[in-house]
Symmetry: C2
Subunit: 482 residues, 2 copies
Amino acid sequence: MGKKIQEKKREKETIGITAPKKEFQDWYPELVQKAGLADYAPVGGCMVIKPYGYSIWEKIQQTLDRNLKDSGHVNAYFPLFIPEKFLKKEAEHFSGFKPEVAWIEDENEKYALRPTSETIIYDSYSKWIRSWRDLPLLINQWCNIIRWETKVTRLFLRTREFLWQEGHTAHASCEEADKEVMLILKTYTDLIENCLAIPILTGKKSEAEKFAGALYTATMEALMPDGKALQMGTSHNLGQNFSKAFDIKFLDRDEKEKYVWQTSWAVTTRLIGALTMVHGDDKGLILPPKIAPIQIVIIPIPFKDSIKRVLKEARALEKSLSDKFSVKLDDRESYTPGWKYNEWEMKGIPLRIEIGPKDVKKKQVVLVRRDTGNKLPVKTKDLPKKAGKILDEIQKNLFRKAKKFLQDNTKPAGNFQQLKTLIKSKKMAKAGWCGSPACEAVVKDETGATIRLLPFKKEKGPAKCVKCGKPSKDTVYFAKAY
Amino acid sequence: MGKKIQEKKREKETIGITAPKKEFQDWYPELVQKAGLADYAPVGGCMVIKPYGYSIWEKIQQTLDRNLKDSGHVNAYFPLFIPEKFLKKEAEHFSGFKPEVAWIEDENEKYALRPTSETIIYDSYSKWIRSWRDLPLLINQWCNIIRWETKVTRLFLRTREFLWQEGHTAHASCEEADKEVMLILKTYTDLIENCLAIPILTGKKSEAEKFAGALYTATMEALMPDGKALQMGTSHNLGQNFSKAFDIKFLDRDEKEKYVWQTSWAVTTRLIGALTMVHGDDKGLILPPKIAPIQIVIIPIPFKDSIKRVLKEARALEKSLSDKFSVKLDDRESYTPGWKYNEWEMKGIPLRIEIGPKDVKKKQVVLVRRDTGNKLPVKTKDLPKKAGKILDEIQKNLFRKAKKFLQDNTKPAGNFQQLKTLIKSKKMAKAGWCGSPACEAVVKDETGATIRLLPFKKEKGPAKCVKCGKPSKDTVYFAKAY
């Protein structure tokens, strides 16, 4: 009995986050847990994705899956277990992933728990692909991924197991593979900027930072409130590196045998972490309406003799809104309206509708925006239209705010000292780079920052390499990263 | 080059199944592979679920997920890794699963790759559940499952890894848990009988056959063409076995602490195997319309000077049907209509529409049913209505046929000799049972058949136990099983 009383006490204490957002390192894990997104698992380095967090993942899945299918991609499922000999076939790939692979053995063989599935999937491709008629082959897989991280666990960002989708395509030419890489980047950008309201920079990775085994890696980078970049997703042109290692050939129209050109690409549950960090505030999560599992919450404010009337009106509202929006009526009797406000603010519901006896009389409701806290009385008859308009505004406002943050915190660095100062003061630095891996390595050693990307279109910037002072080949973005 | 020519040859040979359905042991794996459902993986005991097979799984997921959400269930995700100490907490559970667990170790601990997730999930429940307000807790998870089978691999039926959903609920009373068990059984039955068109028997498992750690197990059993029963899904009342082992208590309205009552339940990708076995024929798969990823395939039959006209009409048909049905127009130029007929028959598309120049002139099309092969000319203007009607008929016909097979192959056994003969001749036997585990064990040893279920409602049947001749307590169903 003692335990339960203690827990009841703890329950009271734990409503609301104790750390403000400016105490970012404490704020983030507390918010993730208290908003019901995820929890530390009783397994070192793992997380439990709780129902509310998972419902956001389902929204991400639905949006992305529909778009991938519209562009001709299909889903399949390949084994969790990858024979060691497969993983070793592409040497660069193997050495890139080896440090974080979890292994399992039976009497015959040693298997990796997939840290990524190129090798196991391409073994099948070598059997399935015969002629140009089989191309392009556009397959996607939703699954769990294992990377036996030894660094500290960060919910959604660094865990030994996470969920993702991984696309694996095969094409007849490098140009087609290039197009696929960019099509996917566009699909991802649409998801991240238009639905998650997170502005990103896109470009190529340097040789040092590209995917192990790729020809090149296209990346999307977002800037978190602590000045660290978060890689939001990547799309790789694998060239013929894997098709040569796995003997994936096709008979072309010209009757010649050729190796296919391949791409692979992924986004993961870390997107939920990004969403939390970018938009959240001292009160909790703020979800962009397009990705919110619940867009509108209705809170009745009943007084003694008006309970029935208020509830009846609230139910009518719920019904009238649920055609167009995802609505929840919180009619629990054992909680006060104030308690409910706090809870749904914590969960980041974009729009709250309050309705009390006076509102019923005036044929109105009060709308409260989660992003600004602004209250607005609205006539009930105008509600569906008005709610739609405000949700649009919230979506735009969240993106605008995040975009401003990205712009305000990205500064040019003309020399190494400026770069050091910028990184130390939690900025992203735009700087010249001569293209030498040596300069890149020194910057990383001395500042902890890496080249996050080389923009696709050459950008104007400092004319000299930020490290060696030689003429710059590219203007690149440096930041510390998750 | 030699390899490719060989493969081209092989490709020609492999159109069509070489084994008829009566050669069941050869027919099944050949069909699964040739219809594009699944393939043997290059990992011992594993399978690759190919895009067409996965699209059937997606249909199953959509149907079931919607129904589970409608009845208040939510999805979440728990780790693949289960600490050995958790698995050991419920002794009966541990000993039931131990033989097929795959283990992985790091410096600190030994982990099972989830063979089922009761223990890892209930550790979280012990933290999440505090009061009656938290109940019922209704969580479902879609994930991969690992059972390190040592027996021979059978695609979809027995593989080291498969996909499933597992529901895990907690309730305030045994009655509520009982209700949940039956609600899920009803939800599953709806999926399996109404969508997959597979008739099932439902009832309880005997003590020897129930889920390791359960109070009782409700099961659904279907009869395959080779006379073996296939367990299609189970729903368990776990009683308080796990809540006591994992200390999952709640403070009830009466201010007393109580252990929760729990259920767990699952269906897996083996449903795709059942679908294949029950409905397939010598030409390939036959999919019930309600679960077919493609319900109607349109095959244009172009002649030299009418290609454009026929194609135009075929496209108009596709458009007019795709509001109501899932339609595919096969307008590939590099294959003949005859080749296409074979391919789509192999894939089990319920309804084919043929349209040639004569049909265009007559403003008609020819419908061909996959289940009966019947051809029917239909006026184009009547098509949407007629197609809907025929798809309904196909759905019903497949169920009726399968139901007749189940009835024709289930026979009463009055004594042990009759039981032996029935099992040997690939029947399911309905027999009396005294309730003694000893009789059950002898039947299993001597015939290979197990008690598949005890019907929920006592059924009339032989008055004496099929083994010992003592008065029967229950009429039960015996069969060999997958």
